[in-house]
C-alpha cells in the first residue's frame, strides 16, 4: 500500500508484508505448540514429551502423570497462552488507536482498574461465581480506561504520550490505592496480593471455559476490524477523509480492549509490558498493517507468556517466581529504549 498522505510522518506509512506475515504466523503457531509441550513437560516433576502426547490424546485417569498434566499443567499453560494473546492484542489495538507507542493496558490504568474490580468482588461478593469475578474485572478495566484512555482518545488531536503515560501512572496509583484500602478494611490484603502475584498458576478448567471463548471472540472481532484500525492509525483526520466511521470503530475497538484486558487480569492479575513490547516486535517483523499485526501479536504474545511462565517455574524450583515480575524486568529495557527515542514523546 502506498503512503496515503505524503505529509504524514514516516512511521505512519503503512507497509504490509503478506509473505513474511504468513511465514511468521505459521512459524509462531508451531512455536506455540512446541512451547506448550515444553512448558507442560518441565517443572517440579519432569514428564517425557511422549507422555504429554499420551495424556492429552488418550487420557487415562489412573496414571499419575496424566492427572498432573490434565488437572494442573495443561490448564495453566493454556491460561498463559490466552492471557498473553489477550494482553498483546489489547496493547496493539491501543497503540494503533491512540498512535501512542507507549500504550499498554498495564501502564495506562486498565490493569489497576481490573484489580480494583476484583478487590470489590472479593470484598462484597465473596461467594460469587467466576463469571461475576470476570465481570467485575472487566468493569474495573473500563473505569481505568475511561479515566485515562477516554480522556486522550476522544480529545481532538490527542495528548502527547508523555502526558498519557503520566495520567496512566496517576490513575493506576488511585485505583490500586482504592483496592488496597478495600483489602485492608476487609482484611483481605494478603489473599488478594498472593492471588495477584500468583500469575497463571491457579488456572482451572472452569475459568478457561469462560475466558477462552471471550478472548477468542474478542480477537476475532479485532481481526475483522483491523482494516479500520490501520486507517485509524494514520490519524483521525485521514481516517475521516477516507470515509471511515471513526466513532463506531473506536467504540467497538475500545470495548474489545476492555474485554481482553479484563479477562486476562481476572486469570493472571495485572501483568504490565506484554501489551507494550509484543506489538512493537510484531510491527518490526510484519509491517504496520494491522490485518497482520493483530493475529501475529496474538500468537507471539501467547508464545512469550508461556515461555515466561515456564521460566518463572524454573528459576528457583520448587518456588515460583511471579511471572509478572519476569515480564516487567524484560519489558523495562524496551520501555526505556522507546522513552529515550525522541519520537516517543513528541
Amino acid at each position: 500500500m502506498k503512503p496515503i498522505n505524503p505529509g504524514q510522518k514516516k512511521e505512519t506509512d503503512v507497509y504490509s508484508r503478506p509473505v513474511i506475515g504468513t511465514t511468521i504466523l505459521t512459524i509462531s503457531i508451531l512455536l506455540l505448540a512446541l512451547s506448550l509441550v515444553l512448558a507442560i513437560s518441565v517443572g517440579a516433576a519432569n514428564i517425557a514429551f511422549f507422555d504429554v502426547w499420551k495424556a492429552v490424546f488418550s487420557y487415562d485417569g489412573s496414571r499419575e502423570t496424566d492427572q498432573i498434566i490434565m488437572s494442573l499443567r495443561l490448564p495453566r499453560e493454556l491460561g498463559a497462552a490466552i492471557v498473553g494473546a489477550a494482553f498483546a492484542v489489547s496493547g496493539a489495538i491501543m497503540q494503533g488507536m491512540t498512535r501512542n507507542p507507549l500504550a499498554d493496558p498495564g501502564l495506562l490504568g486498565l490493569n489497576a482498574g481490573a484489580s480494583l474490580g476484583l478487590a470489590i468482588a472479593f470484598s462484597y461478593f465473596s461467594n460469587s461465581s467466576y463469571f461475576t469475578l470476570m465481570l467485575f474485572s472487566f468493569l474495573g478495566a473500563g473505569i481505568g480506561a475511561a479515566l485515562v484512555f477516554g480522556m486522550s482518545a476522544m480529545k481532538r488531536g490527542g495528548m502527547t504520550p508523555l502526558r498519557i503515560t503520566l495520567a496512566g501512572a496517576a490513575v493506576s496509583a488511585l485505583l490500586s490505592s482504592l483496592g488496597e484500602g478495600l483489602a485492608l478494611i476487609n482484611k483481605l490484603s494478603q489473599s488478594i496480593a498472593f492471588w495477584t502475584a500468583g500469575g497463571v498458576s491457579g488456572t482451572t478448567w472452569g475459568q478457561l471455559k469462560l475466558v477462552a471463548p471471550t478472548v477468542f471472540i474478542g480477537i476475532l472481532i479485532a481481526i475483522i476490524l483491523s482494516r479500520g484500525l490501520t486507517i485509524l492509525s494514520f490519524g483521525e483526520e485521514v481516517a475521516k477523509g477516507l470515509g471511515q466511521k471513526t466513532f463506531i470503530t473506536k467504540a467497538v475497538l475500545m470495548f474489545i480492549v476492555l474485554v481482553l484486558a479484563g479477562a486476562a487480569v481476572s486469570i493472571a492479575g495485572a501483568i504490565a509490558f506484554v501489551g507494550l513490547f509484543i506489538p512493537h516486535i510484531v510491527r518490526f517483523l510484519v509491517g504496520t498493517d494491522y490485518r497482520w499485526v493483530i493475529p501475529c501479536s496474538a500468537v507471539i504474545g501467547s508464545v512469550f507468556l508461556v515461555l515466561a511462565d515456564t521460566a518463572a517455574r524454573m528459576i528457583n524450583p520448587p518456588f515460583e517466581t511471579p511471572v509478572g515480575a519476569i515480564v516487567a524486568i524484560l519489558g523495562v529495557p524496551f520501555f526505556l529504549y522507546l522513552a529515550r527515542k525522541g519520537r516517543a514523546i513528541q
Binding site: 503520566l166 495520567a167 496517576a170 482504592l178 515480575a325 522513552a339
Partner: protein, 336 residues
Amino acid sequence: MINSKKLRKAQMTIVIAAIALILVFVISVSTGFASLSPMRLWYTLFGQGTPREELILFTFRLPRILVTILAGMGLAISGAILQSITRNPLADPGILGINAGAGLAVVFFVMIFGGGSGSSIYFLPIFALGGGMLTAIIIYVLSYKKGEGIDPGKMLLVGVGLSAAISGAILTLASKIAREDYDFFANWMAGRIWGDDWVFVMALLPWLIILLPTIIRKSNILNTMSLNENLSIGLGVKVEKERYILLMIAVALAAASVSVSGGIAFVGLMAPHIARSLVGPRHQLFLPVAAMTGAILLLTADTIGRVILDPSGIPAGIIVSIIGAPYFMYLMSKNK
C-alpha cells in the same frame, strides 16, 4: 521585585496556613484511639496533665504527628523543585520512581531483619534513603544524553517505566517473605506513617533544617529556571550544574521523607499547585506556603485514615491518593 501588596498577601497566607496546621493538629490529637480533648491537650502541653495524658501525648501522638508534618513538608518542597526544574506541572517524587526504589530497599530490609519491632528497625530509614537515592541516580544516568544533557520530559518517562520494573522486582521478593512480615511491608508500601518514635523525628529533622533554607536561598535560580532554559542561560545560570544540585536536593528530601513515612505519592504534586494558586509562582513566597500545605495535607490524610478504621487505620498514602489522583486529572484537563 515583589510589591508590598503581594508580600502582605503572602504573609497573611502563611499565617492562615499556620493556624490551619495547628487546627488540624488539635483535631488529630482529639480524635481516634487514645485521644485528648482540646482542653486536656492545652493543659498537658504545659505540664499539667496526668501521667497517662503525658504518656499519650509525648510518647505516642506527638512524635507521629511531627513525623507526618515533616514528611509532608519534605515531599511538598521536593515536588515543587521537580515541577520547576522539569517545567512539568505533573511532576511528583512518587511518579518519578523514588517511592518504588525506597520500597525495594525496604523489602530487602524486611528479608534481612524481619518486619517486627526491635532495634534493627532504626536502620530502616537508612535503607529506604539509599534505595530512593540510588533509583534517582539511575534515572538520571538513563535519561542523560551526551551533548544534550537531561531532557526533563524523558526523565519523567524513564521514572514511570523504571518504577513499573522495580514494582515487578518488589512483587517477586515480597512473595518470598513470611506472612507476618508481609503485613508490615504491605502497610509500608501503602503509605502508613510508621515512624512514630522520637528517633524518627530526629532522623528527619536535620534534612529539613539544612535543605529548606538552601532551597529558599536558591529561589531566584528556580524562578528563572521555571520560565525558560535559554533565558536562564542568558541570565548566567549554569543550568546543567544547578539542575543537578537541585535535583539531588529534591531527591534527598523525598527519599528522607518517604523513608520514615512509607510510600506516599501525590503530596508533592498537590501542595505546590495549591500554594502557587494562593500566592503566585515566585519561589520565595510559594515554597514556604507549599511546605505548610504539604504538612496540612498529610496530617489531615493521616487523621482521616485513623478515624475511618479505628484503631489500625487506613494508611495515609491511600487517603492521599484518593484525594490526589482526581486533582491530578483536573490539572491535566486544565492545562493545555
